[in-house]
């Protein structure tokens, strides 16, 4: 594992892994969405709006997964002080934020015909909105630290502290009265009919691959900029 923390070895691996993950993820996500749109019957209670869940559920999981990745990479950075771990945390922030926003927007669009309202201030929706604001804060902090040359430990600590919100989102439908349904999928169990579950799992796999590919692309972008800056600084120093 530590071997891949070497930027040279990391770049040789991700050079082919990035396009492979992005292309296979986009194909799988397209298959899952087409499956959900045209080949799944309407649900007995939700009707046609059940199709929105093939987008909403992967987006919700990846929104939370993005912050979990930030927390794990931040912990690795704080323990081993490896700069690639700090880059991995920063790289997960934008895709995590986008999927959280997609989750909130598609949930709201689903809620209007199903619950009769675009938004309610219940535990699940509010904690998910808090997650979006945490992403805004993390990105602003990481960008300020990169620009001003501050310690990378500050966003790493923010990433770890913000992870408190993840179990709150997960348990919110159990702890508080909520319009949102309780968990449909738990470890080893599912309350979802197989004809809905199969395209949902393909969608989760496809969007997860897209997420992973975007994280790798962001890491390469951040690493490329850092290496270019370092090289230009060194050359300016030699010329002076």
């Amino acid at each position: 594992m530590h071997g891949f923390a070497n930027p040279k070895r990391f770049l040789s691996l991700v050079r082919w892994l990035t396009p492979t993950m992005l292309a296979s993820g986009l194909v799988l996500a397209a298959v899952a969405l087409a499956w959900g749109l045209w080949f799944v019957p309407p649900d007995r209670l939700m009707g046609e709006t059940v199709r929105i869940l093939f987008l909403h559920v992967p987006a919700a999981w990846l929104g939370m997964g993005g912050w979990a990745a930030i927390a794990v990479a931040s912990a690795a950075f704080l323990v081993w002080r490896h700069p690639l771990a700090a880059l991995a945390a920063r790289a997960a922030a934008v895709p995590g934020m986008v999927f959280t926003a997609v989750c909130l927007a598609t949930g709201s669009i689903w809620g209007r015909p199903t619950w009769g309202t675009w938004w309610v201030w219940d535990g699940r929706l509010t904690s998910m909105l808090v997650l979006l604001f945490l992403y805004f804060g993390y990105l602003a902090l990481a960008q300020a630290v990169a620009r001003e040359g501050g310690s990378s430990r500050i966003p790493a600590i923010f990433g770890l502290v913000g992870a408190i919100n993840i179990p709150i989102i997960n348990r919110s439908v159990v702890w508080w009265n909520s319009l949102h349904q309780p968990p449909s999928i738990t470890v080893g169990k599912s309350a979802i009919d197989p004809q809905f579950l199969a395209p949902l799992l393909v969608a989760v796999l496809g969007f997860s691959l897209v997420f992973g590919g975007v994280v790798l692309a962001r890491m390469r972008a951040l690493l490329g900029d850092i290496q270019a800056d370092a090289r230009l600084r060194r050359k300016a120093g030699e010329a002076a």
Binding site: T49, P95, I109, P113, A217, R218, R220, G224
Partner: protein
């Protein structure tokens, strides 16, 4: 009286938003990665 809502309008809106956001994210991440790697190569050549 309950208003009648066409559920397909909501389905299409959610799909359009989700697909557009995903494609925009992938395109931006790819473009920014290529830009940064080109910049590194240019700095190496200078």
């Amino acid at each position: 009286m309950r208003e009648a809502l066409d559920q397909w309008t909501f389905v299409i809106a959610a799909y359009a938003l989700g697909i557009a956001a995903t494609l925009a994210l992938v395109a931006w991440a790819w473009w920014d990665m290529r830009r940064a790697e080109r910049r590194r190569e240019e700095a190496r050549r200078k």
